[in-house]
Assembly symmetry: C2
Homo-oligomer: 317 residues x 2
C-alpha cells in the first residue's frame, strides 16, 4: 500500500489534505508533515480543516498555511484524509470531499472499517504520524526539520508522551530518527504542553477543590461550574487534560469531569484505566468514544446526574 501511495504522489500534481473535526496534535502534525513533503517535491498542496487550529499548535511549522474554508475543491486531483476512521469525521465538508476523484485514507483508529478507495490503515500504529513517517521513508525524500518536528509532535501527543500501550519500539526509534533530522522534543513539548493561560491553572485549582470519590474510591470526579469559569476568566475549552488528573489517584479506575454548560446541563468527559469500558457508560446517555476515553451530555440536577452516572459505571465495573 505504501508503494501505491508513493506512486500516486509521484503521478499527480495537486493535493488536498484534510483530517478530523477539532484537530489534535496527530491530525495537525501528520497533515503538516505531508504538506511539506509534497511541496518539497514541487507539488501543489493545501491543508483544509473544518475547525480552527488550537492555539497551542499554531507554532507548528507551516501551521499558518492551513485554511478553514474550502473554496475550490475541484482544483485538486487527490485528497488525503488523515487520522479519520470514516469520511464523516471530516465534518460538514465530508459530502463535497466524498465527491473528489481520488481519496487516500491514512489512519490508525481501531474503528476504521476500511471502506476507502485507497487506504493505508494500521490499527496497531501509535499514531497517524508514525505511518506518515513510514510513507516518507518509502518515498525516499529528505526529512527536513519542519517535517521532523511535525511528526515528532504528532507521535508525542498521540502516545501521551510515549506512555500509552500503543508505544512500541518502532515508535521510539522513529522518534529517535526524527531528532536526528532536527526535531526538538523540548521545544515541542514546551509549546504544546507548557503554554497554558494562567486562568487554566486557576480553574484546575477550583475543579480540584470539588474533587469527590465514589464507589469505594474507584470513581473520582471533578466539577467545573459556570461560576468557576467566570471567577477565573477561563474558557471552557481549557478543561482539556483535567480529567487525566483524578485518574492518577491510586485505586481510581474511572475519572470524570462534569462541565456545567448551563444550569442543569452537564458535559461529561470520562477516562478509565485498564479494561473498564467508559464508552458503554457514555453510550447509555447518548454519547460515545473509545474504551478508555468517552464523553456525553446529561440534563438534570448535579446530584441526580452524578447518581445516575455512578450507577451506570457500577454496571460495567
Amino acid at each position: 500500500m505504501l508503494d501505491r501511495i508513493s506512486e500516486i504522489i509521484h503521478r499527480y500534481r495537486s493535493f488536498l489534505i484534510t483530517a478530523h473535526v477539532r484537530p489534535d496534535g496527530d491530525a495537525l502534525g501528520s497533515e503538516l508533515a505531508l504538506y511539506h513533503v509534497l511541496r518539497n517535491l514541487g507539488k501543489e498542496a493545501l491543508i483544509f480543516n473544518q475547525d480552527k487550529t488550537p492555539e497551542n499548535y499554531e507554532f507548528l511549522p507551516g501551521s499558518g498555511d492551513i485554511v478553514n474554508e474550502l473554496s475550490d475543491p475541484g482544483k485538486y486531483e487527490v485528497v488525503f484524509v488523515l487520522d479519520c476512521s470514516d469520511l464523516e469525521r471530516i465534518g460538514e465538508p465530508a459530502a463535497i470531499i466524498g465527491e473528489m476523484p481520488l481519496i487516500v485514507n491514512i489512519d490508525h483508529h481501531i474503528s476504521n472499517v476500511g471502506v476507502w478507495e485507497v487506504a493505508y490503515i494500521d490499527r496497531d500504529a501509535s499514531s497517524t504520524g508514525e505511518m506518515i513517517y513510514r510513507l516518507i521513508r518509502r518515498l525516499g525524500v529528505r526529512i527536513t526539520p519542519e517535517i521532523a518536528n511535525n511528526l515528532f509532535g504528532a507521535i508525542m501527543t498521540d502516545t501521551g508522551g510515549f506512555r500509552y500501550g500503543s508505544t512500541q519500539s518502532e515508535t521510539l526509534h522513529t522518534a529517535g530518527h526524527l531528532v536526528e533530522n532536527g526535531a526538538n522534543p523540548q521545544w515541542l513539548s514546551e509549546n504544546i504542553y507548557e503554554n497554558n493561560p494562567l486562568s487554566k491553572t486557576l480553574l484546575l485549582c477550583k475543579a480540584l477543590e470539588a474533587l469527590s470519590l465514589e464507589l469505594d474510591g474507584r470513581v473520582a470526579s471533578m466539577v467545573v461550574s459556570i461560576e468557576s469559569l467566570v471567577a477565573t476568566g477561563a474558557k471552557s475549552e481549557y478543561i482539556e487534560g483535567f480529567v487525566d488528573l483524578p485518574r492518577t489517584i491510586k485505586g481510581v479506575v474511572v475519572s470524570i469531569v462534569y462541565l456545567e454548560l448551563e444550569k442543569g446541563h452537564y458535559k461529561l468527559s470520562l477516562r478509565s484505566k485498564g479494561r473498564v469500558n467508559v464508552e458503554q457508560v457514555a453510550r447509555r446517555f447518548g454519547g460515545g468514544g473509545h474504551l478508555n476515553a468517552a464523553a456525553c451530555k446529561i440534563r438534570g440536577e448535579l446530584g441526580d446526574v452524578k447518581r445516575q452516572v455512578v450507577e451506570a459505571i457500577r454496571a460495567v465495573l
Copy 2:
C-alpha cells in the same frame, strides 16, 4: 572509562551499590539495573540507600531487595556511587562509604566536579540510566526484562517523559531497544505516575491555592507548608512532580516549589524552560542540579527567602 569499569566488574566479586538521598526514578532504576546485571554475572551485590524507596517505585523489579541500613560495608570490594555529583549526596553514610577500597562513580549531573578514583561522568547524558545502558552494552550481557524495565523507568522519569532538552536521539533509540528487550512503557507509567495517594492530589490543590507569580509572570511559585501537609495527611515526598505544574503556564520560565521543612527552613525545587540556568540559582544557595532542574535549601522567613530567590533568578534571566 567504560572498559575500565567493565574490567572492574569482571575482576571483583562483591559490590555495594548506592545513590543519592531521597532516591528518584533515575537513582533507583539505575541501581536496580546494575544490581540485576551483577547478579546475572554471578556476583554478590547489595543496594543500600539512606532513604526509603518511595511507594510509587516499590513495583520496580528487585526493589524489595534494597536495604536502608548498612550493616557490614567492609564485606564489599567495590562500591558504585550512582547519580551522585559528590560523595555527600549519599547522606550520612558518606563517611563510611568514602573509606571503602574502590569507589566507582557513574553520573550525569553538571555539578559533578569529578574528584573520584574511578568515574564515568557524562554531563550531556539524559540520565544515569542511559549511561548504565551503555555500560551494559559494553559488558555484552543480556538485557533481561527486569533490567529493561528499570532502565526505561530511569530514563523516562529523568527526562520528564522524553520532554526535557536532555532528550537526544540516543535517548530515544535506547528506549526503543529497551522496549525490544521487554520494557513496558504503559505498565511503568501507570505505576509511577497513576498510583498516587489521594492525599497527594489534595496537597496539590492546597499548593495551587498558594500559587504566585513574580517578575512579570516569568517566575511562578507554590508553597507547601507543614500546615497543609498535616491538613491533607500527605508525606513531603508527595510533592514530586508539583513543580512541573506552574511551568505549564504561558510566559513562565522558572517554576519553584517551596517545601517548608520546619519553621524558617525551606527546600526549593526549581525547574526552568529553555536556556534559563536554575543550577546557577541553586548553587548560589549551596544546592545543585542541572540546567533545567535544580534544588537547594534556604533558611529564613518565607517572604525574605522568596525575595532572595527572585533576585538570584533575575540575575540569570
